[in-house]
């Protein structure tokens, strides 16, 4: 049974990757979105670059990542056609669909936030004290954002005005995660000892776990409608 689900998940992820690869405009569009947003920020701050304090640097980066995540994941359900959804419905269990979507979106978010970070530190300067901790933070945030937004995208795609709804539903829910991430990233920038950040890391991990479990439990009900 469990190996069956694992197989389904693997196939579904593979299908997502293939689809994405065939229509390259989606992923490259998102990459371009990150890069142009970063560039807009760079040009807007250009005049006063020396006034870009670490706090502003950090906050700006995470807000860019947040908007990228919302835009990238919003389409994960709405791009599927109705007939194709029915086809999945008859083929595989809802659990494997949500898990595969979460994993796939996490991968996309890892890619996007990684690229975003590289480009951001390239143009805006890089003042990070502890690179390992910052990468861990990126990793946790990418997974967390992806898992929250996947379920919300599933909810919003059922409604008519899904673009507005996506933002309204996800921003307040994602806020605790965003605040924790910003705090953890600030610790990483200041190069504090890891023991200082264990609180934040464990909170982020537990929020991720809660969200993934809830998505796993709740998605079947969403899927049926």
């Amino acid at each position: 049974m469990s190996s069956g689900i694992l197989n389904e998940i693997k196939t579904l992820i593979w299908k997502e990757v293939t689809l994405e690869w065939r229509q390259k405009y989606a992923l490259s569009g998102m990459l371009l979105y990150v890069i142009s947003t970063v560039f807009v920020c760079y040009l807007s701050f250009n005049l006063r670059r020396n006034q870009l304090t670490p706090i502003v640097w950090n906050t700006l980066f995470w807000i860019i990542i947040l908007f990228t995540a919302v835009n990238a994941i919003a389409k994960s359900f709405s791009q599927e056609r109705y007939g194709r959804l029915l086809y999945y419905y008859s083929l595989c269990s809802p659990q494997s669909i949500i898990i595969s979507k979460i994993i796939y979106n996490s991968l996309i978010m890892l890619l996007l936030s990684g690229m975003g970070f590289v480009f951001y530190s390239f143009v805006m300067g890089n003042a990070i004290g502890d690179m390992g901790l910052f990468i861990l933070c990126l990793f946790l945030a990418a997974i967390g954002f992806a898992s929250v937004l996947t379920l919300v995208a599933g909810i919003a795609s059922k409604a008519d005005n899904s673009a507005t709804l996506m933002a309204v539903l996800s921003f307040p829910i994602i806020l605790p995660m965003l605040l924790m991430t910003i705090k953890l990233a600030k610790n990483a920038m200041d190069g504090l000892d890891w023991s200082v950040s264990t609180d934040e890391i464990s909170t982020l991990l537990s929020i991720d776990l809660i969200v993934i479990t809830l998505s796993y439990l709740l998605f079947p009900y969403l899927w049926r409608s």
């Binding site: 539903l169 307040p172 829910i173 909170t203 709740l218």
Partner: protein
């Protein structure tokens, strides 16, 4: 449903809370002074709100399990009265903060968390209003309601404790109860919570009845249309 005793109890308790809350004896503490009476309103309102939201989530779970539309009505109306209490809680808290902390909206994690919590539930109402089909609306908003409660609790009760907050129970401050809760306060505080919960149930019950009546009337008009 037609039982009236709990409504009378609710009125009696609310009046008891208002009279004893404003006139009863309270401990005298520095800075807080007489504003400690706000405990009966502000703190009790938040606890009542959390209870109502919890019950609302239970009904959402029940709806998902059993699929009866009535459970969803109850869940949504309970959430609405909880939002009403939340806004009242914010207002009373802001009056209190104005006199003790010197600012109606100090930059405090708990306040911001509360604002975010209310935003989450306003989004729930928006989500509900964006569906036409009843069953679909009920199912999807139930899913969101459960999800929202699971996020709401950390925002209000866990995250502020990790950071520095002006509220008791955060950032190394001890919780209530431990040092300034004497028996005079308890005598009014616990009834206050029960009174507000009953009031919230009453509000919700009235609106549920309106909903049920409207639904029956709609169905009646549809069937009569078919006849003619």
């Amino acid at each position: 449903m037609r039982k009236i005793w709990w409504k009378i109890l609710c009125i009696v308790i609310i009046f008891y809370v208002i009279i004893m809350g404003l006139m009863g004896p309270v401990p005298h503490l520095a800075i807080i002074n007489e504003s400690i009476r706000n405990t009966y309103f502000h703190v009790a309102l938040w606890l009542a709100m959390t209870t109502l939201l919890f019950v609302s989530m239970i009904f959402s779970i029940r709806y998902l399990n059993k699929g009866r539309i009535g459970d969803d009505d109850i869940a949504s109306e309970l959430a609405k009265s909880a939002i009403f209490f939340g806004i009242l809680g914010c207002l009373t808290g802001s009056i209190w903060a104005n006199y003790t902390w010197g600012d109606p909206w100090p930059n405090d994690p708990k306040l911001n968390g509360a604002a975010v919590g209310i935003l989450i539930y306003l989004a729930y109402l928006l989500l509900r209003s964006s569906f036409e089909d009843e069953q679909r609306k009920a199912r999807i908003s139930s899913v969101y309601n459960i999800f929202a409660f699971a996020v709401f609790i950390p925002i209000i009760y866990i995250l502020p404790r990790l950071t520095d907050s002006l509220h008791p129970g955060s950032g190394g401050n001890s919780t209530f109860g431990s040092y300034d809760f004497d028996n005079d306060i308890r005598k009014v505080f616990y009834p206050a919570i029960i009174g507000y919960i009953l009031l919230g149930l009453w509000l919700a019950e009235l609106r549920i009845r309106i909903k049920v009546i409207n639904r029956v009337r709609d169905e009646a008009s549809i069937t009569s249309d078919k006849v003619f």
